[in-house]
Amino acid sequence: MRPPILLKQEFLKKWIMGLQRCNSSKKNMSILERKKAIKLSADVAMASARNGTTCWSRAIIANASKDGCDKHLVEQILGPESERLIGKKVSTGALVRNKRIRSKKILKRSCGIRRTRKCAPRVALASSIAEWLVRKRTQVLKSLIPGGEFMNEVCLIEETLDYIISLRAQVDVMRSLASASELVNHN
């Protein structure tokens, strides 16, 4: 895996690029708008640093590209690969996966109904409780990770790993930038 410093450098570069783009587009923005722009450009920059290798990065880019005005920002940040990454059939892939997952869920549900009817008076075993807990938590995790709803457990954990690393890098860079710019402003 690439050293975090490289990741951070790349992230910062792209982020600054995106911010400059935002700056040029609108002159006066409220603080919330600014915050949104900052966050968006940071997210997209981080996602693009992954270069389409991970699912969550593609999901972020796809979500950002849905919105019309954000799309230009995304395109600029992504640079030359924007066509590849946006046009990459993420949405259709997700749709197909969605359908597959949905159909699987329907199948499971139908089987599960049969199962519960058979053994309705079942003692709540510790294992089943544990399973239920784990399932709940994986659901929550899926909601946290961008694009996580479409993954199975193994991929989810891998994506989480990658996402955590990127988030950490992002936080570090943002923090440094914030403090540095604050210092600059104060001086």
């Binding site: 910062l12 457990e153 540095a180």
Partner: protein, 578 residues
């Protein structure tokens, strides 16, 4: 002749099939020459990886993208033909001739209709119509060559004791699919292959010599050598580009089958034993290939693209896993393999198998589709439970990685608790991002970050080796943050410009301690929490701040203190202290 058949690109369109006509009376000579040709190829393939690359790189095969397609369709037609043909038709010779014909016809860019031609050449060699594809060692990739070789050396009637199981035919039919999938996977897994190939290249020669000398253990090295060849081949395929993947993969199978064919002859008697052991050890692979073969045989007639679809999911998974592994450190693979292998020399990495010495016969297919698992002693041998076990092991491995990454996971055991911590961590990181973006929005009214100015402040200094001008507060900071800094806090020049006054730590202490275990409150509640935090001088807190990159996560707590700088948006201390 047949030598040229394999060694030249320019394969005469109808020459090989036609040639078989007159030679029917002397099939042995034809096969002998063929086998010698194969052996030449095999020896070429057995050389060092570099050399083998050269052998591969010789454009002996057409570089057409539909090469593999033709091969597949050829094989499929051949597969279907034995089923269609009546039992009186001789099997081995028929099959072999068909195969040769198909291989020859692949040299054409044209149709693959040599089958009817060959059918006319059938020499009624009425041995039992068992699957001639079933070599004693019995694995699909070894189809062509082992048949020829064994025929040559064992004489035709001896092949009658073939396994005669339908599975072998099915395995055979699955093979072209494997070739394609392997080729495809080679594109995906180039990273992983690069890592593996070097290992295999070393092992290759040893194994080959080992099994030639020791037929009893022949299965073991052979199993690992073929993936090594495949790895080499696939790597070469990647090097060469996509067009050559198919032919290279086919070649690899020929080569591997060539090797295995020699073993198969050495162990004619070991086969029943093998078969017995094979049956007794329920292997997941058996269940999966059967399912897969139905799939592949059904789709063989379709395009390669269509065929890839059912495999795509497993491909994706596999690719994901390999990519994920690539993203992580290489130790993931080592972990997996260490976990998976039962004392094997670690050759099976490509398969992620739990196999040991008695894992025999079937060489690992392109690793992406099948995870070869062995049922542990005293455990259920159901294929479902094996699959479950593999899945669970995968998940637990990754959870271990997460444990190392997320700081709070070290003390907890159990999936639910770890997931809890992971969720908390991700949520806190996301909130931090939100907060920092808000902060940046407030600091810069115009979103213009003077990059040059900032850059000059050595933002990118990683692992600053600045001597730690330790601020008197730092020790106290570490005290009340409850951790020990693990490396010298690196301060940047801009920070050192700040004043380093000493503020009293106590109010901070009391203010912080109650919040140590709270999560970051949502940003909406900014104003509520502000009064809790006493205002500190900027420089004071900056002394605690460590601005360098590449720091340990444990120091994030200290970094958070910079939030105390006197802005209204003051921070929530995100305290995930452990």
């Amino acid at each position: 002749m047949e030598n040229q058949f394999f060694l030249n690109a320019g394969i005469p369109p109808r020459a090989p099939p036609l040639h078989f006509g007159p030679s029917l009376s002397s099939p042995m000579s034809a096969w002998q020459s063929l086998s010698s040709a194969m052996e030449i190829q095999a020896t070429g393939l057995n050389c060092s990886p570099d050399k083998s690359q050269d052998c591969f790189l010789n454009p002996n095969w057409e570089k057409s993208t539909d090469y593999g397609l033709q091969f597949d369709s050829a094989l499929s037609s051949m597969v279907s033909s034995p089923a269609a043909s009546n039992s009186n038709i001789s099997n081995e010779s028929f099959m072999i001739r068909e195969l040769i014909g198909k291989l020859g016809s692949i040299g054409n860019s044209g149709e693959i209709s040599s089958q009817p031609l060959l059918a006319s050449y059938i020499n009624g060699n009425n041995s039992t119509n068992t699957s001639c594809y079933s070599t004693p060692s019995n694995s699909p990739p070894k189809l062509n060559l082992p048949m020829m070789d064994s025929l040559i050396k064992e004489k035709l009637p001896n092949l009658g004791k073939s396994m005669g199981s339908n599975s072998s035919v099915a395995e055979f039919s699955a093979d072209p699919g494997f070739a394609e999938r392997a080729a495809k996977f080679s594109c995906f897994g180039s990273r992983s292959f690069n890592g593996r190939t070097s290992q295999f290249g070393l092992n290759n020669n040893n194994e080959i010599s080992a099994y030639r000398s020791n037929p009893a253990n022949a299965k073991l090295p052979r199993v690992s050598s073929s993936p090594s060849i495949k790895a080499m081949v696939s790597q070469v395929g990647i090097v060469q580009g996509t067009n050559k993947n198919f032919p290279l993969q086919d070649r690899s199978e020929l080569a591997s089958s060539q090797e295995e064919s020699t073993i198969s002859e050495q162990n004619p008697n070991g086969d029943p034993g093998l078969k017995a052991s094979k049956d007794s050890n329920s292997r997941k692979r058996k269940a999966v290939p059967k399912a897969k073969t139905k799939e592949t045989s059904a789709s063989l007639s379709a395009n390669a693209a269509k065929e890839s679809e059912p495999n795509e999911e497993s491909n994706e998974k596999r690719c994901k896993s390999t990519e994920g592994n690539g993203n992580e450190n290489g130790s993931v693979k080592a972990e997996e393999d260490a976990k998976g292998s039962n004392g094997n020399a670690g050759d099976e990495k490509q398969n992620k198998t739990n196999s040991n010495n008695s894992k025999n016969t079937k060489p690992p297919e392109p690793p992406k589709d099948y995870i070869h698992v062995r049922a542990r002693r005293g455990q259920a041998t159901d294929s479902h439970s094996l699959a479950e076990r593999v899945r669970r092991e995968k998940i637990s491995e990754r959870m271990k990685l997460l444990q190392n990454l997320v700081p709070s996971c070290n003390k907890v055991t159990g999936k639910a608790l770890m997931l809890d911590e992971i969720i908390n961590y991700v949520q806190s990181l996301q909130r931090q991002v939100e907060f920092l973006s808000m902060k940046l929005a407030s600091v810069n009214t115009r979103l213009d970050f003077n990059v040059d100015g900032l850059m000059s402040n050595d933002i990118f200094q990683s692992n600053n080796t600045l001597p730690h001008p330790i601020f008197p507060i730092d020790s106290s900071a570490s005290a009340f943050f409850g951790y020990q800094p693990q490396q010298n806090p690196a301060l940047q020049s801009n920070i050192s410009n700040g004043t380093m006054t000493q503020c009293s730590v106590d109010p901070l202490d009391t203010a912080i301690c109650p919040n140590l275990n709270t999560h970051l409150p949502p940003i909406n509640q900014f104003t509520e929490t502000v009064p809790q935090y006493p205002k500190f001088c900027e420089g004071d807190l900056e002394t605690i701040v460590q601005m360098g990159f590449g720091q340990n996560q444990s120091q994030e707590m200290a970094l958070l203190s910079e939030n105390f700088q006197g802005s209204n948006q003051v921070s929530h201390m995100k305290v995930e202290l452990q």
